[in-house]
């Protein structure tokens, strides 16, 4: 037995893994009971650690210092934030830092993220197949695909390479149709995409999304692309077969046709019987029918009856399977809810910056609204609209006033009007637009003319995560306090019937007091001023926060 002779030796042997369990137990007990021994142990541990540090071979050193490296680099990147945004010229250590920066995400385990590469292709559209086909099939937008890549911490070159991979994934027809891709403002070779801070928001997440907007026109799909690798066998003889066409696929087939005059004529299912199916099969599916072969639509079974050579039938079946296997998407619909709120400055939320605004999640915004009302502030209007991704819309809350001058009558408009363009930008929804406010003259009893109306326009651009609310101030001359515009965005289901009437109650008009209502939820609470708010507009009850409509 190679037993230690002294406690010092036992401690020393501890660092050579040479103590047996009994010796370790003895050492443990002594350390726990005798502070002097503990001190000796600590000193020996320090010497051992320093020797390891100073004499360790280079090969293992890099591993040992990796945490320090990533912390150093992460700190440098975070501290520098946008300073690292654009580094001039290639960086020698770019790859190392690329990996290191991942740890700035607190949820990530650095050991795992060291090997994390890129994100995945995601098609963000709700499936058309889950819905009835659009009545106007030609207007179905089948063209938008998006690729979201987590390129945070990648060099631009690497991000570009990843983008190419993603393009090939998203373009299932192997025909890159990418119209453009956006790297925000990072285009410096060698630069590391380290952070992205949306404007006008308080989000400090360090992430970046590349958005690839792929314009994909189904009418341009070459016929050969529709079929899989298909090798005709020997002629199999003419047969007749029925191909059931799912309702979601029907508009796709019609759009695939390159005969717009036929497409436009197809408005009802009965027209499918006169649709030039033969042309479609020949030009788009590469299945030309010859004499003795035919195709027709059976409206009873909603199927195509094709009489053709077996090889052609097999080819069409294979092509149809491909189409059925695809998910066809219409463009997003985005619901934009607006709250126009007049509030006193002291009731603004903590940390609110009047220059940049702020973001709130749903719970925060609900609490904020409640707090506002409790403090006697007013929700002027709460209209909302649904637009397609990339479309513009207008929300108007106001009234028209006829004005006669010099024998001519014109209609003046008072109120708030918001022109807004809503667009998905990665995980955010960008809302860009302007907000016009036209308020009555200072002298309420004075004439309302074009010149006496007080107007102001506020331009805004904000990036809002789904289901969150962006708050910003708007110029509203003559209004007391601050006028806040609160925009809430959420993705709306495609083909959602936006015009479907809700069952919201209407406010109860106050007799002899036009423009004033009682809340249907709290009729005994007091009058609500809805002057200037058009009929049908949804407003929030200031007492209960529930929504009702202006009668």
């Amino acid at each position: 037995m190679n037993a230690p002779e002294t406690l010092t030796e036992t401690i020393s042997r501890h660092f050579d893994d040479a103590n047996d369990p009994a010796q370790t137990a003895m050492l443990s007990e002594q350390i726990a009971t005798d502070p002097e021994v503990a001190i000796s142990f600590a000193r020996a541990a320090r010497v051992h650690g320093m020797l390891q540090q100073s004499l360790a071979p280079t090969a293992t050193r890099s591993r040992r210092w990796k945490p320090l490296l990533w912390i150093s680099s992460a700190a440098a990147l975070v501290i520098g934030s946008f300073l690292t945004w654009k580094w001039a010229g290639p960086h020698e250590d770019a790859q190392t830092k690329v990996r290191i920066t991942h740890i700035t995400d607190e949820k990530d385990d650095p050991k795992e993220t060291l090997t994390k590469t890129i994100g995945k292709v995601r098609q963000v559209k709700p499936a058309l197949s889950a819905n009835a086909p659009d009545a106007a099939a030609n207007s179905v937008d089948l063209t938008s695909y998006f690729v979201d890549l987590d390129i945070h911490g990648m060099t631009v070159e690497n991000a570009l390479a990843a983008t190419k991979v993603a393009i090939s994934e998203v373009n299932f027809y192997k025909r890159p149709e990418v119209e453009r891709y956006e790297f925000s403002d990072v285009d410096q070779p060698g630069a590391i995409i380290s952070s992205f801070l949306p404007r006008n928001s308080s989000i400090h997440e360090l992430w970046k999304v590349i958005r690839i907007h792929s314009r994909f026109r189904v009418s341009e799909i070459p016929s050969t692309a529709l079929g899989p690798t298909f090798r005709p066998t020997e002629p199999g003889g003419v047969q007749s077969r029925e191909f059931s066409i799912p309702s979601n696929l029907l508009p796709i087939l019609l759009q695939i046709s390159n005969l717009p005059e036929i497409q436009s004529s197809v408005a009802a299912s009965t027209d499918l019987q006169v649709f030039d199916w033969k042309n479609l099969l020949g030009t788009r599916f590469g299945i030309p029918l010859v004499d003795g072969e035919s195709v027709s639509w059976n409206p009873t079974t909603a199927a195509l009856e094709i009489k053709a050579d077996t090889n052609k039938l097999n080819r069409f079946e294979a092509s149809l399977d491909i189409l059925k296997g695809r998910e066809w998407y219409a463009s997003d619909q985005i619901r934009v809810s607006q709250h126009i709120i007049n509030c006193r400055e002291e009731n603004l939320p903590a940390g609110f910056d009047q220059n940049t605004g702020m973001l709130m999640d749903a719970a925060q915004f609900a609490a904020f609204k409640t707090s506002l009302v409790e403090h006697g502030n007013k929700v002027v209007a709460a209209p909302e609209m649904v637009v397609r991704d990339g479309q513009s819309g207008q929300i108007s809350v106001g009234r028209e006033i006829p004005h006669t001058e010099g024998g001519e009558t014109e209609v003046l408009w008072l109120g708030q009007r918001c022109d807004i363009r809503v667009k998905r930008t990665g995980e955010l929804i960008s809302c860009v637009g302007n907000f016009e406010v036209h308020n009555p003259p200072l002298n309420e009893n004075g004439p309302i003319t074009t010149s006496t109306i007080r107007s102001a326009t506020t331009e805004f651009e904000t990036y809002i995560p789904r289901r969150q609310t962006a708050l910003f101030t708007i110029d509203a001359p003559g209004e007391k306090g601050i006028t806040l515009c609160c925009l809430t965005v959420r993705k709306s289901h495609a083909f959602e019937n936006v015009d479907q009437p809700d069952e919201l109650p209407f406010g109860v008009p106050v007799p002899d007091k036009p423009g004033f209502l009682f809340s249907p939820y709290a009729p005994d609470k007091g009058m609500i001023d809805v002057r200037g708010i058009p009929s049908g507009t949804k407003v929030a009850c200031p007492y209960t926060q529930k929504i009702f409509r202006v009668p």
Partner: protein, 182 residues
Amino acid sequence: MHPEFLHFFNQCASDLRAYIGSVVRDVHAREDVFQDVSRTLWQSFDQYDPERSFGAWARGVATRKMLEARRKNARFPLIFPPETVEAILEAFDADEENQRLQESALALCLETLPEKSRQILHFRYQSGLKCERIAQQLGMNLKAVHQVLCRLRQGLEQCIQQRLANDDFEPRPVTTLTHPIP
């Protein structure tokens, strides 16, 4: 975000590593704990009380992590029971010295060692040999190797203390310790 974090962390990193290494047996587990602690320190630097020693805070975090790991996983290679780990933690805190000065002093002490001693240290630390292999390499018996290593460590420890106690001691840049400091 935390401009002073690196300063503090660099000061205590090797000491933190030494502390973890003294109570955790497996080298990979040590590395995991160190990384985990480093990340926690970075993330919760806002909670660091500058009145306290950063090293003590870091060791406290490390202790908590190790004991927690042991609670969750009985196979976590913690060498000592919790009370011993606590005692070692207190000893580290009570005997804390400027790490950079100690490293600088150690570098000078290493230069004064005879060739044979440096060779043993080279085998043990640079080549990473076990004591049995060192004994084979040098034609010594195992116990002698243990004793030599013990004496060397003890001697270096005393040498460091003496140099630090010397008013004329001027720390050298840590360039002799060739690890890269970012």
